[in-house]
Assembly symmetry: C2
Amino acid sequence: MRVLGVDPGLTRCGLGVVDGGAGRTVSCVAVDVVRTPPEADLASRLLAVADAVETWFDTYQPEAVAIERVFSQHNVRTAMGTAQAGGVVALGAARRGLPVHFHTPSEVKAAVTGSGRADKAQVTGMVTKLLGLAQAPKPADAADALALAICHLWREPMRARLAAAEARAAEVAKIHRARLAEAAKKNARAGR
Amino acid sequence: MRVLGVDPGLTRCGLGVVDGGAGRTVSCVAVDVVRTPPEADLASRLLAVADAVETWFDTYQPEAVAIERVFSQHNVRTAMGTAQAGGVVALGAARRGLPVHFHTPSEVKAAVTGSGRADKAQVTGMVTKLLGLAQAPKPADAADALALAICHLWREPMRARLAAAEARAAEVAKIHRARLAEAAKKNARAGR
């Protein structure tokens, strides 16, 4: 499976494509950072990010997209821009029918380093090692995008199994409720 | 000028089209609220909002788009969804080359009611009166979308004049700097 990881942003948007192989094997297909000028208006910055991602969809044909879920940031304005950049990437993926998943920074850190509290240097170090890269991807947004893709590749089988188990449990509960309702009806008739 | 006002949101996205006439005359062309199911995944909700707005662009052919600028909300998750919905609307407008402007809630309230601290009922009341509507637009998101469009229609001439004045001032400053530099060169040559 090939995943496009996206560390969303307007000033710097990290993009990384990773192929998942047997077991936990992962390999880097492409990594880059898209930049848009801070002095440009918001709509044209979003358009620049959206267009860049369209090109990546065409070029690398990922089967799924993993985007960092932004909860909060010190700077509210930056957080909003980040959320909006993530939104237009998700929209582009949805238009192509690609599955989109959001992962929190701590999920990504935990998946890649084993600790949800790892710092940027630890994440970059592990990404470099896991993908067997000759040098660390720079800037941090590029490494984060690759970490997101790896996180998704490793979490997705578990997520899919969990979703299937939950669907089965819901089905069983539905049958159970139907039987209970039928028994209640019978009892009511017998009581009359 | 015809403006599409957008009160962005995933659960409810208010859309209102207003035509500006001579002076402060405004008339309502269309108003509605787009809803997306909270249980749907984020990417498909964004796609539903984007598709609805595309239909409005086609149907009403607005010349500009005014979107509420979200700074913060009590619920960070809701704020992010709101920002993302606004982002995909801005992207759609940018793809069509339409100018996009963001207005803060207090700018909108001040433009429509005269007070940046007006409550929802006051905004709805003034919007109903200004547009000469037989009944108040409901829900509040619909009234807010119309208020955004009115705010933009009334602020835009002032904004455009200000931008032109600033551009002229920058041009004058540039000429002034060039003359100062030339004078300094002459003085240096004279001093040699």
